[in-house]
Symmetry: none
DNA sequence: CGTTCATTTGAATCGCCGT
DNA sequence: TACGGCGATTCAAATGAAC
């Protein structure tokens, strides 16, 4: 199905399919450490109150319902604990998870995430541009939902496409509050009666931002509460593999039909802006070795206040310091650190040119090979 | 001090004063069911490691106070349980409480509130208009804090001044996300050395909205983590009675001095929360996220001479350049700058349409609220 | 006195790699 | 695993000096 080779002899994942059943059982049947990202939109209205029994079958005091509350929360916490435990097992060591909820359940989810050792990366507010108003005027308009983005452990190195999200935000750093419209119009799936197919269908724009920001093409994205398959739809468009789990046949049918129509964007469109951190490292010594700068040549600081001389081994010597381009730059500025590549300049034709230009030349030569 | 007659023979409350000591002990010494509103801004339990420097090498003045240090989540939960229990006892049956926090602590607070039988009315997002950025580009900008607004019980009938908040919001229903600036400038209190008197002083505009919305004149407002007394200052301006509890002598001194200067019904203070409405900036990435243009789709320049392809992160790729709609437009025209919104066009029904039309659609959706 | 520009600052879980 | 070197990384708002 995919051309990717799986590590070791792990059982093959059921990629790009919708699995029928309880998500806890299904996740427990999948190989551990095999999934890159989980997006989870669990139910919060479990309607557990009808099933409640006190151990001694005594009647619940109608005046003080605290006990009732507690029992209901306890059931919900058990459910949350169970599915998060199953989810955590199948996540790769550097895997990450997003959960979404409202004030009814999100605090309990956040607490359980922390208790299990997930590491919170950000909480993100989906600020709805067109929320349902509060008709009775009894409360504030509930105009947002909360997402919690976690990595499997504190030590994990989850995918974060910083530059791509920055580009999505027209050049400024993406914030933790996202203004996006709710799912309406053509995007909102209808059943045969013409009613909405699912009560809480999420907009594709929300998943687009999540997946562009925290996955790469070819990653495996699992959604344990698949519903009508928004996660799968956006994953497919973006060239990620998806696994959906959904126990309601009606939702599975809608999702299957939806996904069959989705086409992947072409590869060029899927490339996103890369961080400089992904570029190969170039030692400054190479600049000297290649004769782009000559030993003995002077470099000037970006502000023009400091001067240093290039030595044959690729180190610099200034009035009060010697060492790497970074060390001497930091010493000149009396700063804790310094990027020597952008700090130091050389002169050509009377102009000051950053030495970073030379590094870019070397890198483009490296790419040509 | 006040003309209100207290019910029954309850001991008099220490109104409009700052109490010295641990808030749990002090609250336990106050009469039960005597306070209308509690605003609580407890330590967030930030878990900061080393120092952090900005790209310009200046050092970030972080919250490193002893009062924010906890050994473990367990210890923090014990602390939270204790102060919330004490707070609940002194609340009137129809009383309410606001707590504020970040992702470090807010989930644990929300869980404890629910466990104790508090009833969540709304969670409210304070969207900071000028947050501190993420300097290392490792995460999303942490641009918000979360407040949880609860009543003492599910049966409580807490004060909610719907019309007043609607008026504050230019005539439309107040939403659960509040855009307000952080506390800076003259409002930010300084100590004698000229440094900030408290690391986490809240803006008066935030408390103004809280107190206008959920208290009436003459109500008793208690703040167990008083700090430099923003809650007391706004309560006094608005004609509410305050009780502050603060165990740090330095903060008490600053608050006392501050409160002495406050006058009730200061019109200038009432204007604080009025926000000016500017044309919102719309990143081109939102057009892509919302599916108004699809990754891979072609755009044409206004003169028809250049073509570019849309990528998933909202950047364009043309024959010789890639980047934002503005950058690629400028490159195509070999111009220093270019307004991509009017330069680039897409095709619909054989006609060329400027992408600015899509931006106008998004803006009109945003205005609709 | 108004405009412009440089400087400062804010609740922050803020790196990766090789030795 | 602790340490040190490389080298990547910031936005909005307010202040205050300069013009």
């Amino acid at each position: 199905m995919t051309k990717k080779t799986k590590e070791a002899a792990a059982p093959a994942l059921p990629l790009n399919s919708i699995l029928d059943g309880d998500c806890i059982d299904i996740m427990n049947s999948l190989p551990e450490c095999s999934v890159d990202l989980i997006f989870a939109d669990p139910p919060y209205n479990l309607q557990l109150k009808g099933e409640l029994h006190r151990p001694d079958n005594s009647k619940v005091d109608a005046v003080d319902n605290d006990w009732d509350q507690f029992e209901s929360f306890k059931r919900y916490d058990e459910f949350t604990h169970a599915w998060m435990t199953a989810a955590r097992r199948i996540l790769k060591p550097n895997g990450a998870m997003w959960v979404i909820g409202s004030y009814h359940n999100v605090f309990r989810m956040g607490t359980e995430l922390q208790n299990q050792g997930f590491w919170i990366l950000n909480d993100v507010i989906w600020r709805k541009s067109n929320p349902m108003p509060n008709f009775r005027g009894m409360r504030l308009t509930n105009a947002h939902e909360t997402m919690i983005w976690v990595s499997k452990t504190e030590k994990s190195k989850p995918t974060f496409n910083y530059e791509a999200l920055k580009a999505l935000n027209e050049g400024t750093q993406m914030r933790s509050d996202w203004v996006l419209p709710i799912c309406t119009g053509h995007e909102r799936l209808k059943n045969e009666a013409g009613d909405k197919a699912h009560p809480t269908q999420k907009p594709e724009s929300l998943l687009h931002r999540v997946l562009v920001g925290s996955t790469n093409p070819g990653d495996v994205v699992l959604d344990p509460f698949f519903g009508t398959g928004t996660t799968g739809a956006v994953a497919k468009m973006l060239g990620r593999d998806y696994i959906g789990i959904e126990r309601e046949a009606e939702y599975r049918a809608v999702a299957k039909k939806r996904l069959a129509k989705i086409r992947k964007f072409d590869n060029e469109a899927l490339e996103v802006s890369q961080s400089k951190r992904a570029e190969p490292r170039v030692p400054f010594g190479q600049v000297v070795e290649r004769g782009m700068l000559r030993p003995g040549e002077d470099l000037w600081s970006v502000n023009g206040r400091h001067k240093a001389k290039v030595r044959a081994d690729g180190t610099l010597i200034a009035a009060d310091s010697k060492g790497s381009i970074h060390q001497v730059g930091a010493a000149c500025e009396n700063a804790p650190s310094c990027n020597g590549w952008t700090y130091w300049h050389y002169r050509r034709d009377g102009k000051k040119v950053p030495i970073d230009l030379l590094r870019q030349q070397i890198r483009s030569e490296m790419r040509a090979n």
